[in-house]
Amino acid sequence: MVDEKEKIVSEDMGVQVDKKEDIEMRSFGTIKRWATKRSLWMVHYCTGCGGIELAPLMTSRYDMERFGMHPMVTPRQSDLLLITGYVNIKTLKRIIRTYEQMPDPKYVVAFGSCPINGGPYWDSHVTINHLDKYLPVDIYIAGCMPRPQSIVKAFDDLMDMIQEGKADGYLRYKKYYDKYKANQEKIFRKWW
């Protein structure tokens, strides 16, 4: 059972980044990049306390729909994975599953200090301290919790990065897929 699933997952995502992809990345096209940055649909994985910060972001105070951002319910339709708060081993499996179901190009924004270094839960036996070891993160937002203003700033930065072609987390994930996988398997006793 385990072997079969690994095969499916690697068929899904685990292609090595070759030269052609790199060229495509550079020639992604200004218009396409512009469209991508102006229409970031996000699926938010509210694992911890961060979810509450999203409400003012979506409603009339900060209104992120101004930038074409919109919460989406399924990863198949989303471009942006928002991880708000601490990540424990159990939820990490779900996050990886969700991430791998998203279509390219996709971006990850890690939210708060917990995904950066574990935050207050740094010594817990069930949370992970560095999200970047398991998933490629494009932007971190520091703070516990970050204010909505800083989230808006982060999205703004992400948009600039997309326009410049610097937000290449999904390409990193493909390129170093075996290393990410090894890290993930190290903490999961059983993969699926």
Binding site: M1, K5, I8, E11, D12, Y45, T74, P75, R76, K93, R94, I95, R97, T98, Q101, W192
Partner: protein, 632 residues
């Protein structure tokens, strides 16, 4: 040698009856002989029926069997031919399909014998040109189909008995009507009868036609009598159901056409009373048909059993045929005949596919199947197109007929029939999608991983019938040409079919141009395909379990299953349930129980004790004496 002398209806019937006998004895020794002989006889009969096209014959085929000169007549005419070709081709294809499906089943040899017998008697019903032979063939057909239902073994006994009891009831009613006609007119031959009809008392016509119609309504499973249909269709052997639903259910409609329009005739029918230019008798039939279509659709929506679902759907579609038949205008009769053809085409394919799937999965519960579309592409595509035809999607032939019936109903301003028919048609999307979703889409169970399309003998009939469905969608003029001549035979103004453009059907009220619709559909298909193929990047194929489950991992919940098929329409069922609980079956059951109680009471009178009988005699004598004393 001049073979055309043998192309006569009586030879078709003799060939089939002899064929049934030969197949039985040959089949006892070799299964190969059984298959090839039954295919040969039915194929030959089909060929002969096809060659009968355009002929008008009438002949006595038995010597006078009673002293006062009643003979049996057979003949062909456009109406007869239209039904005969449907019945014959379906029988041939069903026999072909049954070879792998019925292999090794219970009483296999009898199956082929009875199917040939049934084919012969069905053709006999349509070819017969007098009341006596009509009734004899009708009963032969009922009996052989009853025996075919019982072949499935013990579990089909009750269903077969239901079918038989209701059929017998209908047959007695029909016999009464036929006898009345014979006694009144002194002849059994149809054309002699119809010549004498004008000037007959209206009450007599209502009574005799009503009695005869009961028999036909039972066979076409219309409203008060539909209770036999679902169990009988679903419990019958898989090889027989396509024929049962596709061909046999049309004969009720044929009988009504025959008695209403050929024998009684349009003017006498109008003379019996009319409602907005439509005969009251016809209107009653149409009303029954529309209510049947609606109610059977509601029942079909609730079914999880694939054959029961299709059975209720069959009842509902025959309701449409009755609807068009009853309204009796040029458009509606054309629609009715066309729908009979379409229903024969698509329902046969659906039951064939269902039979193949049942054989593969070993269950009739749809919620236990799933995801078979990629494993059985031919079955899926043929059934999909048939379902489109059932749901009257304009890419298929099924649209033309329903459109004609709606146009006729709206044209006459029947505000009760038209909406019922339309809502029933929307309901048919619901149940046909349930079939698609539960059987072909969704998650493939582990047990069906290596499912494959059935053998060629099963797929060839399905492909043949489906391609006719698609072909007639583009050229509805071809079947409508045959229908127009049948209409003019029945004395109804034939539907306009342009000989140059076979594509446009319609009248001043509205029009439907099949060629334009198909062209635009193909054009749009081209646009969409180009858009799909060239826009964006190529898509990657993913596993069926790699699906969005809120990030949840399938293997943790694999025992729960992801296939959403059981209780599919629960919310809507909940709304209908209080009303559907008033099932007609209960009424029949209550009637049966009451009858049993009554019989039990009468039985108790005969106690078997001599003393009681003596008391009866004394009591009776005493009563006589009292009566005598009172008299004087």
């Amino acid at each position: 040698m001049d073979y055309t002398a043998f192309i006569r209806p009586e030879y078709v019937l003799m060939l089939l009856f002899a064929g049934a006998l030969i197949t039985y004895f040959a089949g006892k020794y070799s299964s190969m002989a059984r298959y090839s002989l039954s295919l040969l006889f039915s194929g030959l009969a089909l060929l002969m029926v096809a060659l009968l096209y355009g002929k008008n014959t009438l002949s006595v085929w038995t010597p006078s069997i009673t002293p006062n000169g009643i003979s049996m007549y057979v003949g062909t005419n456009p109406l007869t031919w239209f039904f005969a070709i449907i019945l014959a081709s379906l029988s041939f294809l069903t026999i072909m399909y049954s070879i792998p499906i019925m292999k090794g089943k219970r009483m296999e040899n009898w199956f082929y014998t009875l199917t040939l017998l049934l084919m012969g008697s069905m053709l006999g019903v349509v070819f017969s040109s007098d009341l006596l032979s009509f009734f004899i063939f009708w009963e032969m057909m009922t009996l052989s189909s009853y025996l075919l239902v019982t072949l499935a073994g013990k579990r089909s006994d009750k269903a077969a008995l239901n079918y038989m009891i209701l059929s017998t009831m209908g047959a007695y009613s029909m016999l009464t009507g036929i006898t009345m006609l014979y006694v009144h007119f002194g002849t059994t031959e149809f054309s002699l009868l119809s010549a004498q009809i004008p000037g007959t008392p209206v009450n007599f016509l209502w009574l005799s036609l009503g009695l005869v119609a009961v028999g036909f309504l039972v066979k076409s499973a219309a409203l008060p009598f539909y209770v036999w249909a679902a169990p009988a269709y679903s419990e019958a052997p898989d090889g027989f159901t396509p024929l049962f639903s596709g061909a046999l259910s049309k004969l009720g409609a044929y009988g009504l056409f025959l008695f209403m329009y050929v024998i009684v005739g349009m003017s006498a029918l109008i003379g019996m009373g009319s409602f907005r230019g439509v005969s009251s008798f016809g209107y009653a039939i149409a009303l029954l048909g529309s209510i049947t279509a609606f109610i059977a659709t509601l029942y079909a929506i609730r079914e999880d059993d694939i054959k029961r679902l299709l059975a209720y759907s069959s009842v509902s579609q025959v309701g449409y045929i009755l609807m068009g038949l009853g309204i009796g205008t040029s458009l509606s009769v054309a629609g009715s005949l066309y729908h009979a053809l379409n229903h024969a085409l698509f329902k046969t394919v659906l039951f064939m596919g269902a039979g193949a799937i049942i054989q593969l999965t070993g269950t009739r519960k749809m919620s236990e199947m799933g995801g078979l579309a990629t494993r059985m592409p031919i079955t899926f595509l043929t059934m999909l197109i048939s379902i489109f035809s059932l749901a009257a999607i304009p890419m298929t032939s099924g649209f033309g007929s329903k459109w004609l019936i709606y146009e006729a109903a709206i044209n006459k301003g029947f505000v009760f029939i038209a909406p019922l028919a339309f809502v029933a048609s929307v309901g048919s999307f619901l149940y046909s999608f349930r079939l698609l979703q539960a059987v072909f889409l969704g998650q493939l169970p582990d047990g069906l991983k290596d499912a494959k399309d059935p053998s060629l003998l099963v797929t060839i009939p399905m492909i043949a019938l489906t391609s006719i469905t698609v072909l007639f969608a583009i050229v509805p003029g071809v079947p409508l040409g045959a229908i127009a001549s049948a209409e003019s035979y029945m004395g109804i103004q034939p539907i306009q079919v342009d000989s140059l453009f076979y594509f446009r059907i319609g009248n001043s009220f509205g029009a439907y141009n099949a060629l334009v619709v198909m062209t635009i559909l193909l054009f749009a298909m081209l646009v969409a395909m180009i858009m799909f193929a060239f826009a964006g990047s190529k898509s990657k194929k993913v596993d069926q379990h790699d699906t969005y489950l809120s990030g949840e991992i399938y293997e943790h919940h694999s025992d729960l299953g992801l296939h959403y098929a059981a209780n599919f329409y629960r919310p809507i069922e909940r709304m209908f349930e209080p009303y559907l609980r008033l099932r007609l079956e209960r009424t029949y059951d209550a009637f049966g129980r009451g009858y049993e109680l009554l019989s039990e009471g009468i039985r108790r009178v005969y106690s078997g004790d001599v003393q009681t009988y003596v008391y009866y005699v004394i009591g009776f004598l005493g009563m006589l004496i009292i009566l005598a004393g009172w008299w004087w």
